[in-house]
C-alpha cells in the first residue's frame, strides 16, 4: 500500500540523500518525491510516497526521526490531509481533434500551456484520482509525454 510521509528537514546539501537512503537501503522504491523550502527558509519539506508495508514505513519513520537534520516526520496516510500534484501532458492533437481535447481540458479545469502543429501541452493540478481519469481520457488521442511534479501534501486544519 502506498503511504505518504511528510518530512521537515534542514535546507542543506546532502540531507535529501540521507532521507532517501533510508528507503533505498530496505530495497523499496520511492513512488513520488517533492522537496522545497517552507515558510522558514532554513527548512525544507519533503513529501514522499512509498509503496511498502506499514511496519516497514513505521521503521523507516523512526529511522528518519534519528537523522540529525530531520525535525519532524508525519505519516499522513491515516490522517486527514490535502494532497495535490501537478502534471504536464503532451498529447497528439492534429487540428481536427483539438476541439475535443479543449473540451476535456475545460471539464477538468485544466489549462493548455503550449500549442504546436501536432500537439497540445496541458497543465493540470489535482489528486491522484482526478489526474488518472484525465490520463485515461487523453490516451485515446495518444500521449507523447507525461511529467509529474510529485505529490505534495499538508494536513487539514
Amino acid at each position: 500500500m502506498s503511504r505518504t510521509l511528510s518530512i521537515l528537514v534542514d535546507n542543506k546539501p546532502g540531507v535529501l540523500t540521507r532521507v532517501t537512503g533510508l528507503v533505498a537501503r530496505r530495497g523499496y522504491n520511492i513512488e513520488s518525491l517533492a522537496v522545497s523550502i517552507t515558510e522558514d527558509s532554513n527548512r525544507s519539506c519533503v513529501t514522499m510516497v512509498v509503496d511498502a508495508d506499514e511496519d516497514v514505513v513505521h521503521q523507516v519513520t523512526k529511522q528518519l526521526h534519528k537523522l540529525i537534520n530531520v525535525y519532524k516526520v508525519v505519516d499522513l496516510t491515516e490522517s486527514d490531509y490535502v494532497d495535490r500534484e501537478l502534471v504536464l501532458f503532451k498529447v497528439n492533437a492534429d487540428p481536427s481533434r483539438r476541439g475535443e481535447i479543449v473540451e476535456l481540458v475545460n471539464i477538468f479545469r485544466a489549462k493548455i500551456v503550449d500549442v504546436s502543429q501536432t500537439s497540445l501541452t496541458i497543465e493540470m493540478t489535482g489528486t491522484d484520482d482526478k489526474l488518472g481519469a484525465m490520463e485515461r481520457l487523453l490516451r485515446e488521442y495518444g500521449i507523447k509525454e507525461i511529467i509529474r511534479s510529485g505529490k505534495i501534501a499538508i494536513p487539514r486544519g
Binding site: D10, G14, T17, H58, Q59, Q63, H65, I68, V70
Partner: protein, 580 residues
C-alpha cells in the same frame, strides 16, 4: 568557554584547538596530501598525542577500542581518498556496536570537489549509511562549532560514529576567529533519557507478577553505566541474567543469578531460560539474530519489556509489550525506586531452582582429546592465570576464538574489559583495538585473543605496538583454517571445505620477532600452562602461538534459522550430534 575564543588562526589551527577543547588527548591517524595542513597544526599541539598507525583501518579500530575501554570518544585523523575509504570498515564496526568515534578526513579543495581530483572520493557519501551523522565542512568559520557538535552527537543518546570531511582550502583559510561554543544545542536532536513514568510503572507491575523472568542485558548496559542498577534489580527480585557478547562484564560473572551469554554459541541453560521465561526484560539491546535465533520462535511464552535509548529499536526485530525509551541506567534506577517503594519481594525460587537444574543438566563443556591442545582449555587457563590482581583488558578478533573467549573467560571482571566486534563481526579488529585500549589504560594488561585468519588482517599494527612500547600480549589460536566458516562447511555443507584452509601461513614466531615482539609457540598440551605463564610474564609486546586442531568446532551451536532450543552439541568423542 574556551579561553582561546576570539583568537585569530588558520582553519587547521581552529580544528586542532577545537579537538583540544572537545577534551581529546589521544588520536589515531595517518597523514596524507590533503590532511597535511591539519598535521602541520597538530605539530604545535602540546595536548594531543597522535598515534601513527600502519593502515587507516587500524586507526579506526584503535579509536574504537580506546572508546570502548575508556567510555570516551575515540578520534581518527586521516587523509582523503584511500585514507578515507580505509576507515569505512572501522566506521561500520563502530556503528554496528554503537561506539562513539569521530573520524576527521582530509578532502580535496572545495573548488575541485566532484571533479575526480587526485585522491578525491565522496567521503560523506560513502560513509552515509554507517554514520550517526557527518559533515562536509565548507566554511572555515564553522570548524569549531562543527567539532563541538560532532563530539556531542557521537557520545550522547545512542552513541555512534561521526565523520567530519575537511577540504584542504578550509584547513588553509587564514584569520579565522576561533569560537568554541560553551554548549551544544540542536533543535532536531534531543535524545530521551528518562523513561515514561507510566511505562515504568507497567514494567514494575509485570516484574512483580512474573514467575519466570529473565533479564536480557545488551551493550547499552555498559555504555550507559547501568551495571550497579542492574545488580540492584537482580538482588531485589532474584532474576536470572543473560548478557550478550556486547554486555559481557556488565554483571558479576560469579553472581549466582548470572547465566552468561545466550544465542548461537551461548550456554544451553541460558537459551533454555529465555525460551521458557514468562517475562523478558531486555535492556540496551536489539534482539540481534545471533542472540534470538529464529525470532518468530524466540521466547514464545514471554511478555517483553524493552528498554532502549533508541526508539527505532523498539518493535524492530521483536514486538515489545512494554516499551520504555530511555537511558538504561536512568530507567533501571526508576524501576528500582518503584520496587523499593512497594517493598517488592523475590518470588522466583521455583524458577531459579529449575534453572539450576538446567545448569547441571546442560553445562557448558568440551571434550578433551588429550593429544592436542583444546582451545577451550587454553582460554580457561588464561582466565585463571589473569586473576592475579593485575587489571586485565581482553580484546578479541572474530571467529571461533572469539566464541571460545566469550564462553570460557568466566571469571568476574570489571566492566569495559572485554572488547569484541559484535554486530559487524570484523576480522582484524582485535589487535588495533588492543592498541587503543592500551593507550586508554597504560597501566593495565591488555590481551588480544586472535586467530590466524583475523590476525593477518591487521597484522601490520604489530609495528605500531612495538613503536609505542605497548606491552600488548597476543594469544594466537592457530588452526591454519578459517575455523568459523569451516565449521559451517563441516556441519551444513557436506564437508566441502571451499577456500577455508591456509596451506602457507607465515611462521608467526619469526614474524613477531621481525616486528620487535617476543614470540613463542606451544603445541604440546602438557606445556601449555608453562607457555602461558612465560608469555604473560614477558616484558613488552609478546605473541604466543597456540597450535590447535583444524577439526575443532564451537559448541553448542544453534544453526542459523533455528530456535534457541534446537542446538547442536558435541558428544563425548568430540563428534557433533543433534539434540532432539
Amino acid at each position: 568557554m574556551s579561553e582561546r575564543n576570539g583568537m585569530k588562526m588558520t582553519g587547521a589551527q581552529c580544528l586542532i584547538t577545537a579537538l583540544e577543547d572537545a577534551g581529546v588527548t589521544t588520536l589515531f591517524g595517518y597523514p596524507g596530501g590533503q590532511a597535511i595542513d591539519i598535521y602541520d597544526a597538530l605539530y604545535d599541539s602540546k595536548i594531543l598525542h597522535h598515534v601513527l598507525v600502519r593502515h587507516e583501518q587500524g586507526a579506526t579500530h584503535a579509536a574504537d577500542g580506546y572508546a570502548r575501554a575508556t567510555g570516551k570518544v575515540g578520534t581518527v585523523l586521516v587523509t582523503s581518498g584511500p585514507g578515507a575509504t580505509n576507515t569505512v570498515t572501522g566506521i561500520t564496526n563502530a556503528y554496528m556496536d554503537s561506539v562513539p568515534i569521530v573520524v576527521i578526513t582530509g578532502q580535496v579543495p572545495t573548488r575541485v570537489l566532484g571533479s575526480d581530483a587526485f585522491q578525491e572520493c565522496d567521503t560523506t557519501g560513502i560513509t552515509l549509511p554507517v554514520v550517526k551523522h557527518s559533515y562536509l565542512l565548507k566554511d572555515p568559520n564553522e570548524i569549531a562549532r562543527t567539532v563541538a557538535e560532532a563530539y556531542y552527537i557521537a557520545r550522547t543518546g545512542r552513541p555512534g560514529p561521526v565523520v567530519i570531511d575537511v577540504p584542504s582550502d578550509v584547513a588553509q583559510a587564514q584569520d579565522i576567529v576561533y569560537e568554541f561554543p560553551a554548549d551544544v544545542k540542536l533543535a532536531s536532536y534531543k535524545p530521551t533519557y528518562r523513561g515514561n513514568n507510566k511505562q515504568v510503572k507497567q514494567a514494575v507491575r509485570a516484574l512483580m507478577e512474573a514467575g519466570k523472568p529473565v533479564i536480557y542485558a545488551g551493550g547499552g548496559v555498559i555504555s550507559s553505566g547501568a551495571e550497579t542498577e542492574l545488580l540492584k534489580l537482580v538482588e531485589t527480585l532474584h532474576i536470572p541474567v543473560v548478557a550478550t557478547l556486547m554486555a559481557k562484564t556488565c554483571f558479576p560473572a560469579d553472581n549466582p543469578y548470572y547465566l552468561g551469554m545466550p544465542g548461537m554459541h551461548g550456554a544451553r541453560y541460558a537459551n533454555r531460560a529465555l525460551q521458557e521465561s514468562d517475562l523478558i526484560i531486555a535492556v540496551g539491546t536489539r534482539f540481534a539474530n545471533r542472540v534470538t535465533g529464529r525470532v518468530t520462535g524466540f521466547a514464545p511464552h514471554a511478555k517483553i519489556i524493552h528498554i532502549d535509548i533508541d526508539p527505532a529499536e523498539i518493535d524492530k526485530n521483536k514486538h515489545a509489550d512494554i516499551p520504555i525509551v530511555g537511558d538504561a541506567r536512568l530507567v533501571l534506577a526508576a524501576i528500582n525506586e518503584q520496587l523499593a517503594k512497594q517493598d517488592a519481594q523475590p518470588r522466583t525460587a521455583a524458577w531459579i531452582q529449575k534453572i539450576d537444574e538446567l545448569e547441571d543438566e546442560l553445562p557448558l563443556s568440551y571434550a578433551d582429546r588429550g593429544s592436542v591442545i583444546q582451545p577451550e582449555r587454553a582460554i580457561q587457563l588464561l582466565d585463571q592465570l589473569t586473576c592475579d590482581g593485575v587489571d586485565t583488558i581482553f580484546t578479541t578478533d572474530v571467529g571461533q576464538h572469539q566464541m571460545w573467549a566469550s564462553q570460557y573467560l568466566a571469571s568476574p571482571r570489571r566492566p569495559r574489559t572485554f572488547i569484541s566486534s559484535g554486530g559487524a563481526g570484523t576480522m582484524g579488529f582485535g589487535l588495533p583495538a588492543a592498541i587503543g585500549a592500551q593507550f586508554g589504560y597504560p597501566e593495565s594488561r591488555v590481551i588480544c585473543i586472535s586467530g590466524d585468519g583475523s590476525l593477518q588482517m591487521d597484522i601490520q599494527e604489530m609495528a605500531t605496538a612495538y613503536e609505542n612500547s605497548l606491552p600488548i600480549k597476543v594469544l594466537l589460536l592457530n588452526n591454519s583454517v578459517l575455523g568459523m566458516v569451516r565449521q559451517m562447511q563441516d556441519l551444513f555443507h557436506g564437508k566441502r571445505f571451499s577456500q577455508t584452509t591456509f596451506t602457507g601461513n607465515p611462521d608467526f614466531v619469526k614474524l613477531a620477532e621481525a616486528f620487535g615482539w617476543s614470540g613463542a609457540r606451544v603445541e604440546d598440551p602438557a606445556l601449555l600452562e608453562e607457555a602461558l605463564r612465560g608469555w604473560l610474564a614477558t616484558e613488552g609486546p609478546a605473541l604466543l602461538e597456540v597450535v590447535i586442531s583444524p577439526e575443532e568446532n564451537v559448541y553448542p551451536m544453534v544453526p542459523s534459522g533455528a530456535t534457541l532450543d534446537e542446538e547442536l552439541v558435541e558428544d563425548a568423542t568430540g563428534k557433533q550430534e543433534e539434540e532432539e
